[in-house]
Structures are given as C-alpha cells and as structure tokens.
Symmetry: C2
C-alpha cells in the first residue's frame, strides 16, 4: 500500500519492451524509415499494436526511444596513457561510429524528442567525464568539459545533422588539436 503509482519493471513488461526494440532494429535494417509502421513492428514483435500505442504513443516516440538505447555507449573510453591520447582516440572513434548512415538516422529520430536528446548529450558528457577523472588521477591538468562539448562534440554533431562535409580522421585530429591548443 505504501508504493502508490508503482510501475512494473521486470517480467513481461521487460520482455515485451525487448521484443519491440528488437523488432524495430530488425525491421529498420531492411525497411526504409518512411515505410515503417506500428502494426508492422507489432507483428514482428508478436505483440498487439495497441500495446505499442499505449506504451509509446506513436512511431516517432518509439523510434526515438530505441535510438537512445542504441546510442548509449557500451564501454568507457579506452585508456591510452595520457589525457591527450584518450581524447584523440575517443574523438576518432566517436566520429567514426556516429557518422554511419544508421547512426545518422538514429540521431535524427532522437532529435524529435527533447528528453531523448538530453539523454544522448548526457551519455557523451559522461564519457568525457571519465577521461577527465582519469587525467586528474594521473595528476594531469584536466580539460574543461563544457569547452570540449562546444569545440569537439558540437561540430561533429552539426556536420552529422546539417552538413555534407566529411567526417574523417584529419578532421578529428584538427578538432582535438585546436581544442588542446
């Protein structure tokens, strides 16, 4: 009685969420984004469409939710021995991963939902925070997190969403070099 408004996390709910997410991943690999429908996803997941409508509301929210869970990093940034090397390696890998067509699409999907975009932003900041803390532990002078978001992450995301300009290793090195200068 003490737990009002409780939400159920484990069990069937979790299984269905997993099945629906998986169905979205499977289908979006084979189907153009504009052809995806909720009844199609529901069928693939072995679930009734109304379940999806009630839990997610509409297709944009579902896709945004799936996108965020896929954009969450799996591991901490690699430890390369120094802050500069960590940052260079992380930037290169981040740029490489995020600029794939699949990732571009997911980022566009995530953009539709303000909450989800903030979460993505948080993931990235957490990754950089790990690099900063590691630098502090080594006794290095840590870089400023906000400036890194502005000068490294923002230009990459801007090119992914708005521009046709290349996202390659020279560009990655230039961003890091300009930032550390």
């Amino acid at each position: 009685m003490s737990t009002r408004e409780r939400v159920r996390f484990g069990g069937r709910s979790a299984r269905i969420q997993e099945a629906v997410h998986q169905a979205v991943k499977d289908l979006s690999a084979r189907t153009p984004r504009a052809d995806l429908t909720i009844p199609m996803i529901a069928a693939k997941a072995g679930v009734t469409p109304s379940t999806i409508y009630r839990r997610w509301g509409d297709l944009a929210e579902l896709l945004s939710d799936v996108a965020v869970s896929r954009l969450r990093p799996i591991a901490d940034p690699a430890d390369c021995g120094s802050q500069e090397a960590d940052l260079a390696a992380w930037t290169e890998q981040f740029m490489e991963e995020m600029s794939s067509d699949a990732c571009r699409g997911m980022i566009r999907d995530a953009c539709a939902n303000p909450n989800d975009t903030k979460q993505c932003c948080g993931f990235i900041q957490d990754q950089l925070q790990v690099i900063v803390e590691r630098a502090e532990a080594r006794g290095e002078k840590p870089f400023d997190l906000e400036r890194a978001m502005d000068q490294i992450v923002a230009p990459i995301m801007y090119r992914i969403l708005f521009s046709a300009k290349p996202l390659d290793i020279p560009y990655s090195r230039q961003l890091v070099a300009d930032f550390l200068k």
Copy 2:
C-alpha cells in the same frame, strides 16, 4: 513539347502551397505538435487532404518544409562597421532568434529531413559569407567560414537541440571572443 517533366510554379499551385503553409503556422501556434494532423491542416487551408498527401507525402515532410521556409533569413546581417562587430551582432541575434521554443520546434522538424537540414545550413553559411565579403571589401583580413561554422554555429545548434544549457548574451560573447582569439 520541348519542356518535358515540367512542374507548375505559379497560379493555383502556389496559392495552395501558401494556404497550407499558413495553416500550419496558424495551427502550430495553438496546437501541441503531437496533436497536429493532416486532415486538420487541410481543413484550415480549405484544401482536400489528398492534395497534401500527394504533394508532401506525410506530416513530417510538410512540417519540415514549412520549418525551412520559416528559418530562411529575411535580411542580410547588419553592417556594424567592422568584421568583429558584424560577427558579434549576428551571433547575438541568431542565438536569440533560434533559441525560442517555436524555433526549437522548427529545427527539430527540419532535422527529420536531410535535404532540409542542408538547406538550413546553407542559409546560415550565406549569412556569414556576407559578413566575410563585406570585410574583404573594407580591406580587413576575413575569418575562415568553416571554422566559424564549427566554433560558433555548431555549439549554438548543439545547445538548442541536445542540451539544457543557457543561450544568453555572455555565452554569445564568449563564443565570438574565443573564435576571434
């Protein structure tokens, strides 16, 4: 006979496009984004829904199209006498305009469509290009356009889309100062 695959620009087509765009603007000012529907927009515009489906495809594309036309700048950047002053004034005004809730929504809409995002990017670049050309005419050493996109425009757009951080005049001054440094 020489004009194959011709498209009609003026006349009725233009009137209907205008009516539909206006209907979207009117409705989106009063209606939460998630409640907008094509039949609703069609009724407001005095048009049949199938006209909208055939011309725009779906709601996301229509909203994206309207967003881009609204994000197109009306005038050239103000001439403040020097490149630095022009850039400072432009950045301040750009940030102010783009960070309104209405603009945030339009930018999210535009993000859904790769072509439209590139167009937006082009508008902004054209504005900065005007400042650069003016500087050249004055005999000033012009700044690098790509660096300006990376270090001024990108951080602003990133905060608008992904972050909850403030977009205020001190931040605008900081971006410009860091860039010109």
